[in-house]
């Protein structure tokens, strides 16, 4: 499990829909399948195929297939029914040139660099090669040097005197990654936050189509440096499903072991940074020094701390000896003691609780309609964890609880992450106990060609559900299409909603409560055209077309 191939003739999970009847079909589907996993577009011979994937919180998926002609592709937007859909639609509009009728941001451009010319072909079409794109973009850059000014925040455009538009980023000390937010303030209160992402867009989906299956594994690992192993694992699950390869049991256990170590390092990183954002620097230093123990283990197992390159198609790249597993067991129980001491101390510290309780409150309904995933969703009480609903790796063989909270705010999310870390420690102890014998390393790396078919895979990285879709064509050494839907993307829709009404000093806390990983989403995400004016209307009712935080 974890990866499933898409069987188009199976009418229980796949529905072929005419573009005209998409809205009513979606309306019927979301009553029993409320979670929109993602929208995948693929360019196949003269048409653009859209796959809308839904989940019913139990791991059962429903896919709607819509086929559109390549020229003048247009379909009704479903964002009025599922709020989070509009961001996926913007991505497809930019990458494939599909227009969405009734979209709240009809002219906003996504994901591409500012210098991307209007008339140039959308980058993910099969009719345009990487070389042609490079040539077009290089020419534009020669004529028009890139500007360093942040375009959408010029305040002269606003006639309302009580509204101030404050630029936040792209290089802001609170954010470790370049993202820009235009924050509309009335007094000190946030009326609207409009993110403008796309600084870290590297065009990975296009690059993947030019590289072999094995090369793409190393490429997708570098989508994000924090959940790097989960990216390579999800990709591998999909490829293995496509090619009919299955790894042995020890490989599954070792993969799960590294994945859980990664979750611990990512969660302790975020909890540490929470201290940094609230001005509790000792907390930051304590947690990061505890985290080094996990980094040391990862280095021992995989040879590298961050981009581990531990997994390969059909197994893992290195066996882990029993001596090393003993070290893992010893160190993890040491880490547990240290982590318990630190978190008990900091989470019971009054000022920290005061600073984070009731900040960025959101409800389960908002989270679901935004498509939020991971600890952010679980904090509202929805027990949606891919490790449970669609078990993969060695998760069916270990026992653990899905941690949930009862309200969505910064403090609850922090508590959920702390408890999840303890669950991960428990999983690692069980894995080391039950580690099977055998050789997890395949005899040769996969260098072959693909079969016809398509497969998708989902895993649960530290930030939430990660979704990969891979399509193969027979005889090709490269994947025909790789689609990545990262967890930060729908979570950001939620964060820009939750930020409304709070004060400016809460901005770093609320924006980062989702544990954003902009490099994840920027491989293909948000860019809003500077030519579209940023209009703020009073009274407070959120106007149409105002950016990510708009009401749909």
């Amino acid at each position: 499990m974890g990866a499933v191939s898409l069987k188009r003739n199976d009418s229980s999970s796949v529905l072929t829909v005419f573009p005209e009847s998409l809205p009513e079909t979606v309306r019927a589907v979301i009553s029993s399948y409320p979670h929109l996993v993602g929208i995948t577009a693929t360019h196949v011979a003269n048409s653009i195929e859209l796959i809308y994937s839904f989940d019913n919180w139990k791991g059962e998926m429903k896919h709607l297939l819509v086929s559109l002609p390549e020229k003048g592709a247009a379909v009704e937007s479903i964002s009025s029914q599922i709020r989070g859909a509009y961001i996926y639609e913007m991505e497809i509009r930019d990458m494939f040139g599909v227009s969405f009728i009734g979209h709240p941001l009809p002219n906003a451009k996504l994901l591409l660099p500012e210098s991307y010319p209007q008339g140039a072909p959308p980058p993910l079409l099969k009719t345009v090669s990487l070389e042609q794109l490079m040539q077009i973009l290089n020419e534009v850059q020669m004529q028009e040097p890139p500007s360093s000014v942040i375009p959408i925040t010029g305040s002269s455009r606003y006639s309302v005197e009580s509204i101030v538009i404050l630029p936040f980023g792209p290089y802001h000390p609170a954010l470790k990654e370049p993202e820009h937010f235009a924050i509309a303030l009335e007094g000190e209160k946030i009326v609207e936050a409009r993110p403008r992402i796309g600084y870290v867009h590297r065009g990975i989906e296009k690059l993947a189509e030019t590289r072999s299956f094995l090369q793409t594994l190393f490429l997708v690992e570098r989508v994000c440096g924090i959940c790097s192993f989960h990216h390579s694992w999800t990709y591998t699950l999909a490829v293995e499903n496509l090619l009919g390869i299955s790894p042995n049991k020890k490989a599954e256990f070792l993969r799960t072991l590294v994945a859980e170590l990664e979750r611990i390092h990512s969660h302790s990183l975020w909890i540490g940074l929470l201290g940094y954002w609230v001005g509790f620097d000792s907390m930051f230093m304590w947690l990061w020094s505890a985290r080094e123990r996990i980094m040391k283990l990862l280095e021992m197992i995989a040879g590298n701390r961050v981009n581990k390159s531990f997994i390969t198609i059909g197994g893992v790249r290195y066996d882990v000896s029993d001596e090393k597993l003993k070290v893992v067991k010893r160190e993890i129980s040491e880490f547990e003691k240290e982590f318990r001491r630190i978190t008990e101390e900091v989470m019971s510290y009054g000022p920290l609780e005061e600073r984070t309780r009731g900040i960025g409150i959101y409800h389960a309904d908002t989270a679901i309609s935004s498509g939020a995933v991971g600890p952010v969703l679980r904090a509202t009480g929805v027990p949606y964890d891919i490790r449970k609903v669609e078990p993969y790796g060695a998760y069916p063989e270990v026992s653990f609880d899905v941690v949930t909270g009862n309200r969505g705010d910064v403090l609850t999310i922090a508590e959920v992450r702390v408890k999840e870390t303890f669950e991960s420690i428990g999983i690692i102890q069980q894995l080391v106990e039950k580690m099977p014998s055998g050789n997890p390393v395949p005899s040769a790396f996969f260098m072959g060609t693909s079969k016809d078919g398509e497969a998708f895979a989902r895993t649960e990285p530290p930030r939430g559900e990660l979704y990969y879709y891979i399509r193969g064509k027979v005889g090709m050494r490269n994947p025909y299409r790789v689609k990545i839907r990262t967890p930060t993307l729908p979570n950001l829709v939620l964060a820009s909603e939750a930020i409304k009404g709070y004060t400016l000093s809460d901005v770093p806390l609320i924006l980062t409560m989702i544990d954003p990983c902009f490099s994840c989403e920027d491989r293909a995400i948000v860019y809003i055209n500077r030519k579209e004016p940023f209009i703020v209307k009073l009274p407070r009712a959120a106007p149409q077309g105002i950016g990510l935080g708009c009401s749909l």
Binding site: G203, G225, R305, V306, S519
Partner: protein
């Protein structure tokens, strides 16, 4: 290259400005990890500053994308002389695995001068520490006439 001890590349306590030009976050967290207790570059007087006007070293991580190029130049111009650029990670050195992507220009040395490259995916915090220690001890040579400088062997 002969060492000129009278000429320091940067002052004794180098202050860093961190710039993510399109990286995957891997190098960024290793830069932050090198500041935390285990490696602790702060004992060499190196701190991460929030303003480029206070910085001596521009730490760049990630390949330069078309969208960040303008900001990178602007921030580089704001750092007072003498300044050096530390390209951390293979992507910042050459574009790395993303080389050839339509939105990727390439390594930092394509757009800035005086770049010291630390390859690795990502380089270990131990490596980052040892380079900053070399700045502290003034063991790095100045720039040659092409404008590029390399870490010098002992």
């Amino acid at each position: 290259m002969e060492k000129n001890s009278s000429l320091r590349l940067v002052r004794r306590s180098p202050w860093l400005f961190h710039f993510n030009s399109g990286g995957c976050n891997g190098c960024d967290i290793e830069v932050v990890a090198s500041l935390t207790p285990k490696y602790d570059v702060e004992r060499l007087g190196a701190i991460l500053t929030s303003s480029p006007k206070h910085a001596d070293i521009l730490v760049v991580t990630g390949p330069v994308t078309r969208q960040t190029l303008g900001s990178l130049r602007m921030i580089y111009d704001q750092i007072p002389e003498p300044k050096v650029v530390l390209a951390i990670g293979t992507c910042a050195c050459s574009g790395g695995v993303f080389r050839g992507g339509y939105n990727v220009i390439g390594g930092v040395d394509k757009v800035l001068k005086n770049v010291i490259c630390i390859p690795g995916c990502p380089p270990n915090p131990r490596m980052i520490y040892s380079i900053i220690k070399k700045f502290y001890e003034n063991q790095l040579g100045g720039a040659d006439e092409n404008g590029s400088s390399k870490p010098e062997k002992e």
